[in-house]
Symmetry: C2
Subunit: 413 residues, 2 copies
């Protein structure tokens, strides 16, 4: 008998019919003898409806009141799902975040979980109840309602699984697992049976929007086995777990991630002296602009070029900041470009396989795709290219690393 935490997102509970389908699935698991804690999001569309209401009153709604408002979305779902479970003869009980006592800090709209009280839940589980918990929400020490930010229901699921020492945290979503890359771009994209937390983090942060990054970090930190499954199609999904499977040959590259949400800014001819990087980035960060890639090459003639990428929404703001910085540092010029895409190969196997990066560059060169920027980490190589080549690059890399073949590794490339 296992203890499972199952999280269902907004689409999975988007209508009464879908809530009934979730109840059927929970019933099946319960009949197999498992204990179940269900975490649910607001019905799809509801959160946006509430945000619209708020914005029609206050352009920038008060953060505390916004949380009071938004937390009603999940509260509706827990009540409805509990009813659907009872209709099936199960004993069920709903919990709001406050009722669980999911204690968070007081950062409304992006609160962090500090503590979860499991006493009440454990006693209810022991009595055979299915628990239905509102995702995305908690309360601070003073009892003010907080929310964890968009996608926070995943975080709730993982945090509950960790606190309750669950055997698995299952994230039900509208995709049936994590793929080697986006199937809409590459026909032969393949579902991965397993992926490590680190790989998943790189895939998620690079735009494979299956799981919220915080929930993966959380699951990794507390070693909660995480499984991504479809609410609509039966299947095993993808298990995200620690890199413990040492006796299996790990393919070098697990997946190809990409996005075209970024813009690139370069400051040319800055004096190559200590502290110059922080002189460039501090004003950017002061303007609340998040920076993704940062690249600085070796200097020539005492000056160097400094490049970084930001979200496209911040492109204009970042450009303005950088022009000011260029004046202050007497840099030669500012070059910016928002017609770029970032493509990355991700895989823990890279650590032990030489030549992965060069295989990547060769594959791109074979398609005459020029690489504008390169950045690497232990388990990832990212390049910035012209956005018009993005799909072509993804397909070329997916094929070069034989990702449609589950048994292939870099050694065969």
């Amino acid at each position: 008998m296992a203890l499972l935490v199952q999280k269902y997102g907004g689409t999975s509970v988007g209508s009464v019919e879908r809530i009934e389908a979730v109840a059927d699935r929970v019933l099946k698991h319960k009949q197999q003898g498992d204990d179940i804690v269900v975490v649910v999001s607001a019905m799809s569309g509801e959160t946006n409806r509430l945000i619209e209401l708020a914005k029609s009153i206050q352009a920038t709604p008060d953060a505390r009141e916004m949380d009071v408002l938004l937390s009603t979305g999940e509260q509706v779902t827990i009540a409805l799902l509990s009813m659907a479970l009872m209709k099936r003869g199960l004993s069920a009980k709903s919990y709001t975040g406050s009722q669980v006592r999911i204690t968070t800090d007081d950062a409304h709209g992006k609160a962090r979980i500090e503590k979860i009280d499991t006493d009440a839940m454990e006693s209810d589980l022991a009595s055979g109840k299915v628990l239905v918990v509102a995702g995305f929400q908690g309360a601070d020490e003073l009892g003010n309602i907080t929310t964890l930010g968009r996608g926070g229901s995943d975080t709730t699921g993982v945090a509950l699984a960790a606190a309750l020492k669950a055997d698995e945290c299952q994230i039900y979503t509208d995709v049936d697992g994590v793929y080697t890359t986006d199937p809409r771009v590459v026909d032969s994209a393949r579902r991965l049976e397993k992926i490590t937390f680190e790989e998943m983090l790189e895939m998620a942060s690079l735009g494979s929007k299956v799981l919220q990054i915080r929930s993966v970090e959380f699951a990794g930190k507390y070693q909660v086995p995480l499984r991504v499954l479809s609410s609509f199609v039966e299947g095993e999904g993808t298990l995200i777990t620690t890199d413990g499977d040492q006796n299996m040959e790990q393919p070098a590259v697990s997946g190809i991630a990409f996005n075209r949400d970024e813009a690139k800014l370069t400051l040319k001819g800055v004096p190559d002296i200590p502290g110059v990087a922080s002189k460039i980035l501090a004003p950017v960060s002061d303007a609340n602009i998040e920076v993704d890639m940062i690249v600085q090459n070796v200097s020539v003639d005492g000056t160097t070029d400094f490049t970084f990428t930001v979200h496209r929404n911040d492109y204009d703001k970042a450009t303005a900041v950088l022009k000011q910085v260029a004046d202050d540092l007497s840099a030669k010029e500012v070059i910016t470009d928002d017609k770029i895409a970032k493509v990355s190969i991700v895989g823990v196997g890279m650590r032990s396989h030489a030549g992965v990066a060069s295989s990547m560059f060769t594959a791109l060169a074979n398609e005459s795709i020029n690489i504008q920027l390169i950045s690497t980490s232990e388990i990832k190589v990212s390049v910035i290219i012209d956005e018009k080549y993005m799909e072509l690059a993804v397909r070329a890399l997916h094929s070069a690393f034989k990702l449609n073949d589950p048994d292939a590794g870099i050694s065969e490339v």
Copy 2:
């Protein structure tokens, strides 16, 4: 500087525009130097929407989960109104029932308030905040969300006013006060400036649906001055207060109440022996049928006739129960009629004025309206008549007691 508790119902907060109008009104009172606690209902239509959702899942939704579901309605309103107040430069803070710590019993769907913790509210009021409290809801000792039943927001308002020792509890609604009778029936119906709690109770229970009866009882018990006002039209409304105005000549009759929601059932020829009334009514009450009027006249030849009225919705059920009772008691026959109306005159002045009842009967006789049943209390006389004469009876009584003339009393009839 007064402390006012203002309660706004569902229609008054039924749209963003109306919420903004409520915020304008609160701002005006705040600018006049008053401290304000606002109690709000769910936006009109929302509660019904949630009930529909629940019923589409469970024909008889679980009571605990229903409260979890329904309480979201007011939670949305408190957040939106708080935002609207902040937009106007006011400092505002929302409270759910749980956050106030409105402790109730655990009778989900019809919970009774047991205790209200005022510490947090008093400290927030002292710091100049407008408090926006969710009506209709509380939590039991274990933290389970409860609701007070339909119309419970009035009760919340009065209970908060009592707990906070407010100067007045103002109930904003879609009518501008309590009238001598329904203006849709009698053109010359007049708004009362003042009415006693007891009169209001009789008016409310008889179908003048301005205030929930529990809130009036509560206000009377705790001596909270209650004022009914319109959210849409400026005005003084009607003040409901204790009968303390002794130096003013009290008119005998304050208003005419009526309804046609009842049905009448008579058991003829029952043996007039001790315990027979309870033998008749116990099965009715066991069938969860509420009885309104009960009339038994003196017996003739050792048998008597026993009549009572029930809500028309319970007419068929009550008839079936009564036929069984008739068999058990060997009663002569059961006579039932659901084409009836109840018309009542209400007024504390009756106590000291003789002849009020006979004036009533004379006025009805003058219109050739036959009286089927009579029931009286200290401050009310009710009659049952054929429903087709209801409007005629109401107009005749309104005129007979000169209710269109604020200075008239029974002595002049």
